[in-house]
């Protein structure tokens, strides 16, 4: 099809689709007036059952922890995919100095940023079930700190700190750790992903059972995956000209 016919076909069917969506959305409860049984039930029982202050955390890592397992492997698999694609075809040699030159302006701020971000990331992972945050958000922040090290300080220091095999190891441990914690429930005689450690006291850092463990393993996986991802893309950029 020419661009024109294609756009025409899209506009015609898109307007039908718009009509359908409008028709469907008219049946939604008015904005702000939702009363779903699932959320209400969880709001009522979650704190007592899971000892997690944040219902989001208890949904993410407990009631629907199995979804999160799938989500973690989506990240895992797409990073494997990127590695497979870019590693395969790359012109090997990497020119490490060019990266630092390229990002000169952010070097100064970066030096301070690295440790601050790193600690912030760990904090966000640790407090996910007490306040907003958790493994996924914190993991990205930790990874951002490591990546900033590459840009702001020295790519060689970065690749020394996060060589591919180490990053792969971290990623595998994070993803496998989630499954292993899930299997821990089975081994303890309960079900997969059932909390098999003490739930602790509400509000304390050591509370909420496996939610904390799962959140940490997600954090490790996300940090590892993001670092691998960033390295692959960096090297794509830094590959020496042929």
């Amino acid at each position: 099809m020419s661009l024109r016919t294609r756009t025409g076909l899209f506009l015609a069917s898109g307007s039908v689709l718009a009509g359908l969506l409008g028709w469907a959305f008219a049946g939604l409860p008015a904005f702000g007036h939702y009363h779903g049984v699932y959320g209400r039930a969880l709001d009522r029982v979650s704190l007592g059952q899971t000892h997690a202050m944040s219902t989001i955390a208890s949904v993410t890592f407990d009631y629907r922890g199995f979804d999160t397992l799938g989500e973690e492997f989506i990240l895992f698999a797409s990073v494997l995919g990127v590695s497979l694609l870019l590693r395969e075809m790359r012109e090997r040699d990497v020119d490490a100095k060019r990266l630092t030159e390229r990002f000169e302006p952010i070097r100064a701020t970066g030096r301070i940023g690295v440790p601050v971000l790193f600690l912030l990331g760990l904090f966000v992972i640790a407090h996910g079930y007490l306040s907003p945050g958790g493994g996924f958000q914190g993991g990205v922040v930790v990874a951002a700190a490591i990546v900033l090290l590459a840009i702001a300080v020295d790519y060689r220091a970065y690749s020394g700190l996060a060589p591919k095999s180490a990053a792969d190891l971290v990623e595998g441990v994070g993803a496998g750790g989630y499954v292993a914690i899930g299997l821990g429930g089975l081994v303890a005689g309960a079900t997969f992903l059932e909390s098999f450690v003490s739930r602790g006291t509400i509000g304390e850092l050591a509370s909420s059972g496996t939610i904390a463990l799962l959140s940490w393993s997600a954090g490790i996986e996300v940090a590892g995956a993001t670092v691998v991802l960033a390295s692959e893309f960096f090297e794509e950029l830094l590959a020496r000209r042929r």
Partner: protein, 114 residues
């Protein structure tokens, strides 16, 4: 007024699709795809919103206060992660396509057809 958030979801879905259909650059196309996906965040969160409700985190708020739906938020969290990973994978493919063919224009990629 009270249906505007849903209208926004529909708008983002269709506008994003329009971008995907008419795109002449794979990187542009990938970003448009992310716009389509952002429509699902808006829809999910808008569905679970409760007027005057707070976030479902019982840290300092009195028990029994109205909260917004926690489930849709957990779903959206997953959705956001899916979005960025898909984007990274697609961008890697786009870079690879460019490396092999020297073009990013989807209309010029007709090697496999018929």
């Amino acid at each position: 007024m009270s249906y505007l958030p849903y209208a926004l979801a529909a708008w983002l879905f269709l506008v994003g699709l329009y971008g995907v259909v008419t795109s002449r650059n794979l990187i542009h196309l990938v970003v448009c795809l992310a716009v389509v996906q952002s429509s699902t965040y808006v829809l999910l969160l808008a569905i679970g919103y409760v007027e005057g409700g707070t976030a479902p985190i019982f840290n300092g708020i009195p028990l029994g206060k109205k909260t917004v739906d926690p489930v849709v938020q957990a779903l959206t969290l997953t959705d956001v992660v899916v979005s960025v990973t898909t984007m990274a994978l697609l961008l890697a493919i786009a870079v690879e396509v460019h490396k092999r063919t020297g073009t990013l224009d989807p209309d010029e990629l007709r090697e496999v057809r018929g």
